[in-house]
């Protein structure tokens, strides 16, 4: 019998890194994402605008020149700069700028809260569905498929329309709209790693299901879920303002961009510019979130 030639190799020195040069830089996934983001000027720039919008909304009482609720019968629909109102007044004589600044609070909340709720519920369901057995998976995913079978605005309108308007109902219906897609993203990401050997190896080390999910699954699910969630914020802002525009979301006299658009619409012919302002606010916020989300996706979509 011939001796296996390739195996006739001398003993290996104990603690040298014999096969491969030492790596000079040690960098993990999140570090490399951070590095990419720091060097992406477009995303950084729009991120700063998002930050400014958020700050303006948070500190609205300090910035806004007037109360967003104070009406004036004589000062309706006045142009820019009228009696110290930098952006004029609305159809009830309320200061436009203050209403837009305060409106940012509600509009941003309506953009973020449903996404956060949907991420938590959908993400959890998706991880369970992806990791659990066939029965649980089928039950969860087929239920989600039903809600997925509605165009999103239609589902939001249906639920809000049936439950009635209001911020809370709006948040509930938008959360419901986003949950199925979130669940799918989380389920796909979970199922991808579920059968990889390192999960088996972790099980073989004696780890329980929850420990495995925490240490080995979440890290792979968080990325795609976060990317998707960031892209939903702008959608949520648009849908929420759409609901308000239809009279289903925020109710008067609260300042909300969608609602302002809807009430100012009556004075379209008198004050076209004033009517355009809330729309510009929605547009700028939504495009900034979109571009930041694109940047995050580009930075996080790295194979390692």
């Amino acid at each position: 019998m011939n001796k296996p030639v390739a195996l006739a190799v001398a003993e290996i020195p104990a603690d040298s890194d014999f096969d491969g040069a030492p790596a000079t830089k040690v960098r993990g996934y999140w570090q490399s994402v951070g590095y990419r983001l720091r060097h992406d000027w477009v995303t950084l720039g729009f991120g700063v605008i998002v930050l400014l919008i958020v700050l303006a909304a948070v500190f609205a009482p300090l910035i806004a020149p007037f109360s967003p609720y104070a009406q004036s019968i004589i000062g309706r629909l006045k142009p820019f700069g009228w009696r110290g109102h930098p952006w004029g007044t609305d159809e009830l004589g309320r200061d436009m700028m203050s209403r837009l600044i305060y409106g940012g609070r509600i509009s941003l909340m309506m953009g973020l809260v449903p996404v956060v709720i949907a991420t938590m519920i959908g993400g959890t369901l998706g991880v369970i569905g992806g990791f659990a057995g066939k029965v649980a998976n089928t039950a969860i995913m087929r239920t989600m498929d039903v809600f997925y079978a509605f165009p999103s605005i239609l589902l939001a309108v249906a639920i809000s329309g049936a439950m009635g308007g209001g911020i809370v109902n709006g948040i509930i219906s938008l959360s419901l709209v986003f949950t199925p897609a979130m669940c799918r993203v989380a389920e796909t990401a979970t199922a991808q790693v579920k059968n990889l050997d390192y999960i088996e190896a972790a099980r073989a080390s004696g780890a329980g299901t929850l420990t495995i999910i925490r240490h080995h699954v979440l890290g792979n699910v968080l990325g795609p879920v976060f990317i998707y969630a960031s892209s939903l914020v702008s959608v949520s802002i648009l849908l929420a303002s759409g609901l308000s525009f239809l009279g289903l979301g925020v109710q008067p006299p609260e300042p909300d961009w969608g609602l302002m658009l809807s009430t100012l619409r009556q004075s379209l012919y008198v004050d076209p510019l004033g009517c355009a302002l809330p729309g510009i606010a929605i547009f700028i916020t939504s495009i900034c979130f979109n571009l930041v989300s694109d940047g995050i996706r580009a930075a996080m979509d790295v194979r390692i």
């Binding site: 019998m1 195996l7 104990a14 603690d15 030492p22 099980r203 420990t211």
Partner: protein, 350 residues
């Protein structure tokens, strides 16, 4: 390596039956997988009645073509995949029985190194955390686990300060496989299943890792189940060899015997294909012809008969059994030719 680790005599607090009691006895293990789209009730007979004994301190090599059920057998042994039927006795205790050993306990004593060195490490974790994960989930503190991980990394020949903080994609194939070995050893197992642990490595690295495995086995008193399709490697590292074909054991015996005088035509063919380069040593049987039959509808009787040069009527009618075997030195094969009473025309010649 010998400078850092002293060779210990064979003592292990967890050893229950002494050196004479086998480490692991598999009895008629069976695992079938349902397959979709191949008719109702169709199953892949991945592991189909496998019995063998693994003695303490030995290395049992498992060889067979791709798809013959080697990995499934390994997973069944760790209960990562539950067997449909059959028993598993670890150091005298039946696995999963109330008076036997629990699966959790089994997994503390038996570990596995997986086939694919890339997918068996979490890409999002520094390798030292991957290694420390096992001790951590087995109740060790964070600091203690990390210390164990560092020790083990040294043992597998990787400097912890240099390699510990790296991520898997920053390691070469050989380094990754060392980390995988470290990950398995960190739990402190008595037995390690190595599923194609060196198959993905190139030849020189393979030799280094094989030598490392031998060294670790000696210093840590390990027992190996070594799965590979590379006969040279199995010959090099194994004390005994088990040959699988379509989910069944066809031959089992001391490595030297099996390689010198294979009794089953399948083993002969495997060896023949290996040695066909060397004409002076060519075994007198043709290399294997054709693809293995489908594990979904395996042939009746002897599963190898469709490719066997000596197939006769009896091979189709009756499934040959693995002969009686008693100890480490017995050499048995599931072939009618090994059984004088089988009615095969060549009976008793093998």
């Amino acid at each position: 390596m010998s400078a850092t680790v002293q060779a210990k005599p064979y003592v292990d607090g967890r050893d229950r039956g002494g050196a004479a009691q086998p480490m692991l006895i598999a009895k008629e293990l069976q695992r079938h997988f349902k397959v979709k789209g191949a008719g109702k009730g169709a199953v892949v007979r991945a592991v189909d009645g496998v019995s063998f004994t693994l003695f303490k301190g030995e290395t049992l090599g498992v060889v067979g073509e791709s798809g013959c059920g080697k990995s499934t057998l390994a997973r069944v042994l760790l209960h990562l995949v539950l067997p449909d039927s059959g028993d598993l006795v670890f150091d005298g205790d039946t696995v999963g029985e109330t008076r036997g050993i629990s699966v959790a306990d089994l997994r503390r004593q038996v570990q596995m190194v997986f086939q694919d060195s890339y997918s068996s490490l979490n890409p999002r974790m520094p390798v030292q955390d991957s290694v420390a994960f096992g001790p951590m989930v087995n109740g060790k503190s964070k600091a203690e686990s990390r210390r164990i991980a560092q020790d083990i990394l040294v043992k597998v020949g990787l400097r912890p300060d240099l390699f510990g903080p790296r991520y898997p994609h920053e390691l070469s194939g050989g380094q990754k496989q060392r980390v995988n070995i470290a990950r398995a050893l960190a739990v402190g197992p008595r037995m390690v299943i190595l599923d194609e642990a060196v198959s993905a490595l190139d030849k020189s690295v393979e030799a280094q890792v094989l030598n490392l495995l031998r060294e670790l086995k000696r210093t840590l008193n390990l027992t190996y189940l070594f799965i590979s399709h590379d006969l040279n490697v199995v010959r090099y590292i194994s004390d005994r060899v088990l040959v699988m074909y379509l989910g069944q054991v066809v031959e089992l015996g001391p490595a030297a015997d099996v390689f010198a005088k294979a009794r089953h035509p399948y083993t002969q063919a495997l060896l023949g294909s290996r040695l066909s380069m060397d004409s002076s040593k060519r075994i007198e049987s043709p290399p294997i012809v054709g693809d293995p039959p489908s594990p979904i509808n395996p042939p009746s009787g002897c599963r190898f008969r469709t490719r066997c040069p000596h197939a006769e009527a009896v091979c189709e009618a009756e499934m040959p059994t693995l002969g009686q075997w008693e100890d480490r030195s017995s050499h048995v094969a599931a072939c009618h030719m090994t059984n004088a009473q089988s009615g095969h025309s060549l009976a008793g010649t093998a």
